[in-house]
């Protein structure tokens, strides 16, 4: 039952093959069995059982709220959840209990979803491995698959079986692992530079990044206000479409959501790609791309072509500058967003009481890890009066050039771009940590963050299925 899609299990609930309480208990039990993955920071067992009970009452009366009623979901721990601790995997927010739900969380709950818990991430969503949070790294469920175990046995003998586990990618690694391990049917992540798509790729699930402005950011603890979006992780594209349908739309509490009405939609049962024009950006053929990923990319393109789609090469000339541009804009906005953490109104507060400045400085040193502090300092550097024009404004200009690249391609008749998400398959943790967070993010975000800068939507599906 737990391996089914959201739609399948929703049908099972409607037909009474399983009750919401049974489903919830199965998921809770699996969460306990897979605790070693460290996908969850908080498991909201009591809340989940209560929600499942209420869902069951609704089903008995025939008043189900829809496809999401009674469905176990998980939420990344940078979304505010009322009365449930929200930590962003940081000491700064350990013990912080928000008094409200993020809009996207509220929407899920209003549709009857059952909240299993808050998932693990890189601290404040800064990273591409889900290895830099204070609650420890998240392990990729595929590390324990038969295929990987056999591969490891061939390579080395006498190793501790668990020493070479694979990373999930990040920063929404906990959400991706939770979905991949069947402990929930959908999870919320966030995506600023690829943080939903990267772990989705590494964990073999669907990762959807909506267009900026489609889904509300109210309650999502911000990283980069001009690029953040809530992301959706599911086991199939149809499920992602169901969840998107529930979440999309204008929110008066988030003035960056567009006001256009969102029409309800359903995906066609059979896709007709005859009229589709697919673009392959030539600049994405990076030298570091692994041969395995390259071959899947090629296979996908050939598959579309054989089904009648037009597949052409396109150019996004400023691709090579997108990582640098993102680096400057991201750290600058982070410097501003992290200024709110001073220990006074919420979050961690140190014991120093000498002066406000000393208290702020010590609180922030104790509360933030090196990665966060590094980005704050870099951001402040780029925002200094003498650097503002040459770095921040310059990056904003380059951002326009990157966004224009996409606009030009889509205006020339291309409907969709087909690209890899990551350079290679998931790497073992021990290899990943050899480089620092900034270097890794710069390497791993190469295919994903340009889309964040341009604001477009992006969806990732595992090729091996």
């Amino acid at each position: 039952m737990l391996g089914r899609t959201l739609r399948e299990v929703s049908t099972a609930l409607k037909q009474g093959h399983i009750t919401p309480t049974e489903l919830c208990q199965k998921c809770l039990s699996l969460i306990k069995k897979t605790k070693f993955l460290n996908a969850y920071i908080t498991v909201s067992e009591e809340v989940a059982l209560k929600q499942a009970e209420e869902s069951e009452k609704r089903y008995k009366k025939g008043h189900s709220l829809g496809d999401l009623d009674g469905i176990p979901v998980a939420v990344k721990d940078n979304f505010s959840t009322s009365s449930i601790e929200t930590t962003c995997a940081s000491n700064m927010l350990k013990g912080y209990v928000p008094p409200y739900n993020a809009t996207v969380v509220q929407k899920l709950l209003d549709k009857g979803a059952v909240l299993m818990g808050k998932t693990n991430l890189d601290e404040f969503a800064m990273g591409s491995g889900s290895t830099d949070g204070v609650f420890g790294p998240v392990k990729n469920p595929w590390s324990y698959s038969k295929q990987y175990r056999e591969k490891r046995k061939q390579k080395a003998h006498g190793e501790n079986e668990d020493s070479n586990w694979l990373i999930t990618g990040g920063s929404s690694g906990g959400s991706a692992a939770a979905v991949a391990a069947f402990t929930c049917f959908a999870a919320l992540g966030s995506d600023t530079g690829g943080s939903t798509r990267n772990p989705a790729a590494h964990c073999g699930v669907v990762g959807f990044k909506p267009s900026y402005g489609l889904v509300s950011r109210h309650g999502l603890i911000p990283l980069v206000n001009s690029m953040d979006v809530p992301g959706i992780l599911t086991r199939c594209v149809d499920d992602a479409a169901i969840v998107l349908g529930m979440l999309a739309g204008h929110d008066p509490k988030d003035s960056t959501t567009i006001q256009d009405p969102v029409k309800p939609f359903t995906l066609p049962t059979s896709a007709d790609v005859n009229k589709l024009c697919i673009g392959i950006p030539k600049e994405y053929l990076a030298p570091e791309l692994s041969s395995e990923v390259r071959s899947f990319w090629s296979k996908a393109a050939n598959l579309f072509e054989s089904e009648g789609a037009k597949v052409i090469e396109v150019s996004l000339p400023h691709t090579s500058y997108s990582i640098v541009c993102y680096h400057v804009l991201c750290t600058s906005e982070v410097a501003s967003n992290m200024a709110r953490f001073d220990g006074l109104e919420y979050g961690h507060r140190c014991d120093i009481n000498v002066s406000t400045e000393a208290m702020y400085a010590a609180t922030r040193r104790e509360g933030f890890n090196d990665v966060v502090r590094g980005r704050i300092l870099s951001g402040n550097f780029f925002l200094l009066k003498e650097n503002y024009e040459n770095y921040f404004i310059k990056a904003q200009k380059v951002r326009r050039l990157i966004a224009n690249d996409f606009v030009n391609v889509f205006n020339s008749g291309v409907d969709v771009l087909l690209t890899p998400t990551t350079l290679s398959e998931a790497v073992p943790y021990l290899e990943f940590i050899k480089e620092d967070n900034r270097t890794r993010s710069a390497q791993d975000d190469i295919f994903t963050q340009a889309v964040n800068m341009a604001g477009f939507l992006s969806c990732l599906q595992d090729c091996q299925q």
């Binding site: 001009s226 400085a361 870099s378 380059v398």
Partner: protein
């Protein structure tokens, strides 16, 4: 922080000295005794990866603005690398290009009507703070006091 900036210069100097003392005290406590001598001699380092832009003055300035300390040699080296990386933007020709602040720049910002629809939640909000007195958040004295 704003109190620091708006104070008369004599008080600012005093505040700066106090802040420096606190930060030095912390650095020593962390066991970075070499920090002082190293920072004075920092600008003389020559490293191809470094832009040499992070001088001792810049470090002090950033620490004060960000209210986050570098804390180690590695952190400064990381900033140097971050700057060198960002310098690659110079290669892009942006003549005549307007900066892009938001991808929604062609749209009108939504403004809701000016009516009070929620609030009265002071008690809930105060619960998240460590130090409160009645309905006030309590902060240690600022520099002017």
């Amino acid at each position: 922080m704003s109190s620091l900036l708006s104070a008369p210069s004599a008080l600012r100097e005093d505040a700066l000295r106090r802040l420096k003392r606190e930060m030095w005290a912390r650095a020593v406590k962390l066991g970075l005794r070499s920090w002082v001598g190293w920072r004075r001699g920092f600008t003389s380092k020559a490293d191809p990866q470094r832009s040499g832009r992070v001088t001792a003055e810049v470090i002090e300035h950033l620490e004060r603005l960000a209210l986050v300390d570098f804390g180690s040699l590695e952190a400064v080296a990381r900033l140097e690398k971050a700057i060198a990386f960002a310098d690659r933007l110079r290669a892009v020709d942006t003549d005549g290009v307007e900066p892009m602040e938001s991808v929604l720049e062609d749209r009108c910002l939504y403004l809701r009507s000016d009516n009070v629809v929620e609030g009265n939640c002071a008690e809930e909000l105060l619960q998240n703070a460590h130090r409160v007195v009645e309905e006030y958040f309590v902060a240690p004295p600022g520099v002017n006091d």
